[in-house]
């Protein structure tokens, strides 16, 4: 199982960044990165179809190191498992892991955006409660 380099930078797409900003503003999440990794977990959980994320227009968000260590480990395990289930090769390095995480995050965020359409921060948090329970 390949690990994510904590020094690596999370670089969401501008669309994702915009929604992350909205989620932070409506207090659904305290940090944008938490919403981003939650979206990745949501997508992994639901084995969402992913596609490569174009490099163009992506902006640096934060270092991966600020994400909770257990969350990182869980993400690594999720990526490892989902790829294995989907018959896809194990990532060669941490950068590839981060790319896959990013693809899932972007895909998951799209889903969540649709799901949380018109919801307040508190309602989103309540939905998260439902999602994880």
């Amino acid at each position: 199982m390949k690990h994510i380099d904590p020094q690596a930078t999370i670089r969401p797409t501008p669309q994702a960044k915009g929604y992350l900003d909205a989620l932070k503003k409506n207090s659904a999440f305290g940090r944008m990165v938490d919403a981003y990794v939650f979206a990745a977990a949501y997508a992994l959980k639901n084995n969402v179809e992913i596609s490569p994320v174009p490099a163009r227009g992506r902006e640096d968000l934060v270092y991966m190191g600020i994400v909770d260590e257990d969350v990182r480990l869980a993400l690594e395990a999720g990526v490892h498992t989902v790829l294995k289930r989907n018959g896809k090769p194990e990532p060669k390095d941490s950068r590839e892991v981060l790319d896959i995480v990013t693809q899932y995050a972007e895909a998951g965020l799209k889903l969540l955006k649709e799901r949380w359409q018109g919801k307040t921060g508190v309602q989103i948090q309540d939905d998260i409660r439902k999602i994880i329970s």
Partner: protein
């Protein structure tokens, strides 16, 4: 202004028991000759005139006792004598009379002289002395009434102070001197006043300056007072506002307490809510874990089985090495040495090749442990967490609403302000008091300054009035100085002018009386009224060098000149003036008499007027009187008209 003697009446005066001598003034001539032998009573007439005019000043009381007629006195020891003179001055008749009474007390007799009585045209004059002094000044009497002896004395005492005073009196100089001295004194007095006034003027300047200072101070005080009043008003407003606020606060104090409780509750709830919110955020950070737990557990289980295989292999190598290195044999079939070495080499190789695998295994173990641990992750109780957080939020909202309501009711009042308000009330009251005190102080100072201003103004007005006085005094000084200078100039002019005319008169008379009219061409009167005689060569001859006769001729000329210049044209009554002179001077003097403008009464002996000389002036003589002695036992004389 010619003064002429009209008559003389003598009663019990020396040798005259009751005598009246009249001088007819109704003629153009003005010379009278009264002949009398020595001792007949010529000088008594002259003395009677002088006593009548000047009283005790002329004749002492003891001497007067001898003036009572001896014969009558025998009959009446308390005899009264009298002399009455009648003068005519430009038609006005002056009747001057004086009486004296002999008083006997025991064996002592004394003479009591009465004040002269003066009547002008039959009317008594209140101030007889002044009146007489005005008619015939006593100081000048020697120029009116003199005898030969007197002339001699004149000739000798021309330089005396007395003569000088008399001459100046004739010239009216003393009055001018008095005027000069008076004007000088007045000038000094006014100048002193002016000096005082000048100092007052200086004081006025000082007072004016002080007044300006005070007025400036008053203006400043006014401004300060105005400012203080404004500040007082502002402080009063603040005090009112503060007191109103304090009153409101008092009313709202309970609500304020509620609000404070709410505030503290709110603060506490805020903290709790904030903590709950943070907890949610923290839990949300790990929200992905529950979603990925399935994968974590799967991976952890996979890693668990891999680890067990590796561990088993490691344990086998380790056991084999222990058997080979052990001395004891457990099976009884010991292997040979070469086999042992071979096995050990193989173990060594296995260990070397497995070292790296062991490291990976350790990492895998660590990862497995972590995954195992993570797989046991307990999902936070989001239900209760969010519920608590939302409940706290609701409570907080309620508190905030209540607080907002109370805040509105307390008009933004807070506890700090409530605690502070009475302090502020006290401070504002103190400020008002301070401003009031300041106003009172300024008013007091202003009042003092206004009082000072009034006093200074009064002082200034007084000084200003003095200043007007100063101006008046300055004008008076100018006038007094002018008068003083004028008096001095007048004196100088008068002396110069009168001396000149006296010189002219004296020179004229002197030329007529001197025996050397060709030689002595004129008389010079010096500053001190000493005389000098100009001779034909222009030299001034000192009278001391003259003969006695020449001196007397000069004295006569001077006396006659002074008489002419006296302005009174008083009668010249000469007692035996010429008898002792040489015939030349005697003739000259007698011949000069008609030229004198005054009435001339010559009391003469035959020797004074020898017949041949009398004939020379006879046509100018109004009358010739003759003193006759009565009976040998009568001690009496009488005057009769001879011609």
């Amino acid at each position: 202004m010619a003064l002429k003697l009209k008559s003389i009446r003598l009663k019990n005066w020396k040798c005259y028991q009751n005598e009246e001598i009249e001088f007819n003034l109704d003629t153009q001539q003005h010379i009278w000759i009264v002949f009398g032998q020595n001792g007949f009573g010529k000088t008594s007439i002259l003395e009677a005139i002088q006593w009548c005019l000047y009283g005790g000043d002329e004749l002492k009381s003891s001497a007067l006792l001898d003036s009572f007629n001896r014969i009558v006195l025998k009959k009446d020891p308390n005899l009264e004598l009298s002399v009455q003179l009648k003068f005519d001055r430009n038609g006005d008749i002056y009747d001057i009379s004086r009486t004296a009474k002999r008083v006997v007390r025991g064996i002592t007799a004394s003479a009591q002289t009465n004040e002269a009585i003066v009547q002008q045209n039959g009317i008594n004059q209140p101030y007889s002395r002044e009146c007489i002094e005005e008619l015939l000044p006593r100081a000048c009497k020697d120029f009116f009434f003199f005898d030969g002896v007197e002339i001699k004395r004149y000739a000798q005492r021309l330089h005396t102070k007395e003569t000088l005073d008399a001459i100046e009196r004739i010239l009216g100089i003393p009055e001018l001197r008095n005027l000069r001295e008076d004007s000088g004194r007045a000038l000094q007095s006014i100048e002193k006043k002016l000096k005082d006034a000048a100092s007052i003027n200086e004081s006025l300047n000082q007072v004016t300056s002080k007044l300006e200072e005070v007025q400036e101070k008053i203006e400043i005080k006014k401004e300060q007072l105005q400012k203080a009043k404004e500040e007082y008003q502002a402080a009063l407003e603040i005090q009112k506002g503060t007191e109103e606020r304090a009153s409101q606060i008092e009313e709202l104090r309970d609500k304020l307490k509620d609000m404070n409780n709410l505030e503290s509750n709110k603060s506490r709830k805020q903290e709790e809510w904030s903590e709950a919110k943070k907890q949610v955020e923290r839990d949300l950070e790990q929200a992905p874990i529950p979603l990925l737990l399935e994968f974590v557990r799967g991976v952890a289980e996979d890693m668990q089985s891999t680890t067990m295989i590796t561990a088993r292999r490691s344990g086998s190598v380790s056991q084999l090495r222990e058997i080979l290195e052990s001395e004891a044999c457990v099976c009884g079939r010991c292997i040979d040495e070469s086999s042992r070495i071979y096995i050990l080499q193989e173990l060594q190789r296995l260990e070397t090749s497995g070292a790296s695998r062991t490291k990976d295994a350790l990492q895998q173990d660590d990862l497995r442990d972590r995954l195992v641990t993570l797989s046991r992750f307990k999902t936070p109780d989001f239900d209760s967490l969010l519920l608590r957080r939302d409940r706290l939020r609701e409570e907080l909202d309620q508190i905030e609403k209540a607080a907002y309501r109370l805040k509105k009711e307390t008009q933004g009042l807070n506890q700090e302000e409530a605690e502070d308000i009475w302090k502020k009330v006290g401070e504002s009251q103190q400020k008002v008091r301070e401003h009031q005190q300041k106003i009172d102080r300024l008013k007091g100072e202003s009042a003092v300054l206004l009082q000072q201003e009034n006093e200074l103004r009064r002082e200034m007005e007084e000084l200003a009035s003095c200043n007007e006085e100063t101006a008046n005094l300055a004008r008076q000084v100018t006038l007094a100085d002018g008068l003083h200078q004028a008096a001095k100039e007048l004196i100088e002019w008068r002396i110069t002018e009168r001396k000149k005319t006296i010189e002219e008169q004296t020179s004229k008379i002197h030329r007529s009386v001197t025996n050397k009219p060709e030689e002595y061409v004129g008389v010079e009167i010096r500053e001190d009224y000493t005389l000098g005689i100009k001779n034909a060569t222009g030299e001034i001859i000192n009278p001391e060098t003259l003969s006695a006769g020449e001196k007397e001729a000069l004295a006569f000329a001077f006396i006659a000149g002074l008489n002419l210049e006296s302005g009174t044209a008083a009668p010249l009554i000469m007692d035996t003036p010429f008898g002792h002179l040489d015939t030349g001077h005697q003739r000259n003097l007698i011949n000069a008499l008609p030229d004198l403008p005054s009435q001339v009464i010559v009391l003469a002996t035959d020797r004074d007027f020898p017949d041949y000389l009398l004939q020379g002036v006879r046509s100018h003589v109004t009358g010739i009187l003759k003193i006759k002695r009565l009976g040998a036992t009568e001690d009496a004389s009488t005057v009769e008209v001879a011609e």
